[in-house]
Symmetry: C2
Subunit: 306 residues, 2 copies
C-alpha cells in the first residue's frame, strides 16, 4: 500500500469565485456529491464573505448544510473573520480555512488589515471556536507566501514570522499558499523547510496555482519535502484577477495522476473524477476546463497505487 496523500478540492470555492457566471446551488451540490463519490475526502465548498463582494458564494450556508450529510467527507469553508467563522459553525462546517496574507499590501487590499492584525482576528476565531460545543478544525493559510502581484518578492523570513504567529494563535493546521502562482520548486523546498523549522508539523498543506505552468512541479517539490495535503481544483478552475486568461488552481485530475503514478495513495478514482468534471462542465457551459489527463485519456500504463 502506498503512502496516503490527501487532496482537498477547492474548485467550489477558489474556482467558482473567479467565474463570471454564478453556478446554481443545485448544480454545486450535485458537483460536490460527484466529487465525494470520486473519493475526495476534503472539499472546500464555499466561503462566508459578504455576498456584495463575491455573489458567487452567497449560497455557501445552504451548500454546507447540504454537503455535511456526505459520509466521511470533511466540509471546509473559507472565512475571512470571526463573523464568517460563526456562520460556518452554525451551518455545520467541519473545518474552516482563514487566509492571512503574508504580503502586507495584499493583506490590506483584501481585508483592510495588515498581516499581523489579521493574525489577531485568527486568534479571536480560535478562542471563539474552542469555546463551542462541537469541534471545528481551524486551518490558516499564509497567502502570497511565494510572491505577490502587488509587492513582488515576499521574503522567506516574513513567511516564517506570519506562520509562527499563526502557530502561536493555536490553529490546527497551516497552509502555504501560492495565491498568484509565482513560486518555483526550489522556492517551495526552501519555504517549506524554513517554516517547518519554525512551526514543525502544524505546517501540513500547500495551496498551489498554475499561473506560470509550474504548479504540478511545485506540488512535486512539496510532496518530496514531506507535505501530504494539497489543495487543487477540478479542471484547473480558478484564475488570477491580475492576469486575465491565466490558469487557476493546479488541476485535481493531473495531480491525482502524478501522485498515484508515483505510488502515493490518494483514494481518488480518475474515471469518477471525469464524471464529476462532466457535472462541472454542465454547470459552467461557457468555461474551458483545463487538465491534460482528461484531454489525453488515461494511458494503459496507469495503475492506482492502492
Amino acid at each position: 500500500m502506498g503512502e496516503p496523500v490527501s487532496i482537498c478540492e477547492v474548485g467550489p470555492r477558489d474556482g467558482l469565485q473567479m467565474q463570471k457566471a454564478i453556478m446554481p446551488t443545485a448544480v454545486k451540490i450535485e458537483w460536490i456529491v460527484a466529487l465525494a463519490r470520486a473519493g475526495l475526502r476534503e472539499i472546500e465548498v464555499g466561503s462566508f464573505v459578504p455576498p456584495k463582494l463575491i455573489p458567487q458564494m452567497a449560497d455557501t450556508g445552504e451548500v454546507v448544510a447540504a454537503s455535511r450529510t456526505l459520509e466521511g467527507v470533511s466540509i471546509v469553508a473559507l472565512v475571512p473573520n470571526l463573523k464568517g467563522a460563526q456562520r460556518a459553525y452554525e451551518s455545520g462546517a467541519d473545518a474552516i480555512n482563514v487566509p492571512v496574507s503574508v504580503s502586507e499590501a495584499h493583506s490590506r487590499a483584501n481585508t483592510n488589515k495588515g498581516s499581523l492584525e489579521q493574525v489577531a482576528e485568527v486568534r479571536a476565531i480560535v478562542d471563539w471556536v474552542r469555546a463551542q460545543e462541537r469541534p471545528m478544525k481551524i486551518d490558516a493559510g499564509c497567502a502570497t507566501a511565494f510572491g505577490c502581484s502587488i509587492e513582488g518578492t515576499v521574503p522567506i523570513d516574513r513567511v516564517v514570522t506570519v506562520a509562527s504567529a499563526l502557530a502561536e494563535a493555536g490553529v490546527d493546521g497551516i497552509v502555504l499558499a501560492d495565491t498568484v502562482g509565482y513560486g518555483n520548486p526550489a522556492q517551495v523546498r526552501a519555504v517549506v523547510r524554513a517554516v517547518r523549522g519554525a512551526v514543525g508539523g502544524v505546517l501540513d498543506r500547500l495551496h498551489l496555482h498554475d499561473t506560470m505552468g509550474l504548479g504540478i512541479a511545485n506540488a512535486l517539490a512539496g510532496v518530496e519535502e514531506g507535505i501530504r495535503c494539497f489543495d487543487s481544483a477540478l479542471g484547473g478552475l480558478g484564475g488570477c484577477p491580475f492576469a486575465p486568461g491565466a490558469s487557476g488552481n493546479i488541476v485535481t485530475e493531473d495531480l491525482v495522476f502524478m501522485l498515484e503514478s508515483m505510488g502515493f495513495e490518494t483514494g481518488i478514482d480518475l474515471d469518477l473524477l471525469f464524471a464529476a468534471r462532466e457535472v462541472l462542465q454542465r454547470g459552467l457551459p461557457e468555461t474551458a476546463l483545463l487538465g491534460n489527463v482528461a484531454k489525453a485519456g488515461i494511458p494503459k500504463t496507469y495503475h492506482r497505487a492502492a
Copy 2:
C-alpha cells in the same frame, strides 16, 4: 552566475511534423532566426525522412543550409537511418539525432526494425560519420523510454540494454525520450539513475512531452538528477498521434521560466522568446499555442539567473 542548462528547441521538427498545415520554408527560417536571437544555442530544425511520409519536413535540406549560418547555434536534424545521416552531413548539419525505440512494437511500427536492429543502423551511421572530413555530433534517442502507447509499460532494464548498446556503438550523447508523455517524476529519477549507472555521462539529455500534464515536473526531476540538456518546443507545439487534442512537447517558455527562477542559466531571454512565438503563430495561424507564462505575462518577481 548560475549553473548552465542547455535547451534544444525541437519545435521546427517535433512540433511541425504533427501539424496538418505545412509551414512555408521562409517562415520556418524566420522562426529559427528568432529562436537564435532569443538565445537558443541548439535547434532541431527538421528531419531527413521520406517526404511522402512526413511532407512537413520535405524542405529540411534547405532549412539546414539556411540555419547553419547562425553563429554559435548548433543545427540539429533528426535522421532515422544512414541515408538520412548522409543527407544531414551534406546539408551541413552540426549534429544528428537518431531515434531508437526501446519498445519493440513501437520500433517496428516506426522503422520496420526491432530496437537492436536499429542500434545496428546507428553503428553504421557512427562508422560513416567518423570517416568523413568534417565532424558531426551524433546523439541517439531512446524513444518510448518511459512507456509506449502500443506496448504499455517499458521495463527499465530494457532501457538500460538499449542505452548500453548505443553507448557501445560510440554515439556522442544519449537522450531519454518520453515520446508519448506517460512518464512520472519518480520514474524519471529511476530511469536516469539506472541508465547513468550503465553508461555514465554519455546520458546527457531528456526529451519530455506534456501529454499528462507532468512534463515540467518530469523536467524538474531530471534537472535535480543532474541532467543539464532538455528538448522543448515553443508554444508546446507537437501532440500525440495516439491522443488527438493532447499536449505536445514541454513548453520552452515555461521551462526557461522554471530553470531561470531556480537559478539555472539558460542564456535565453523570455521577451525575445515571446517575439519568436509571434513568428510561429503567424506561420501557423490556426494552431492554438500553449504556454502559461506567455498567457499570464512575466511576473515582477522574475529575474534571470545570469
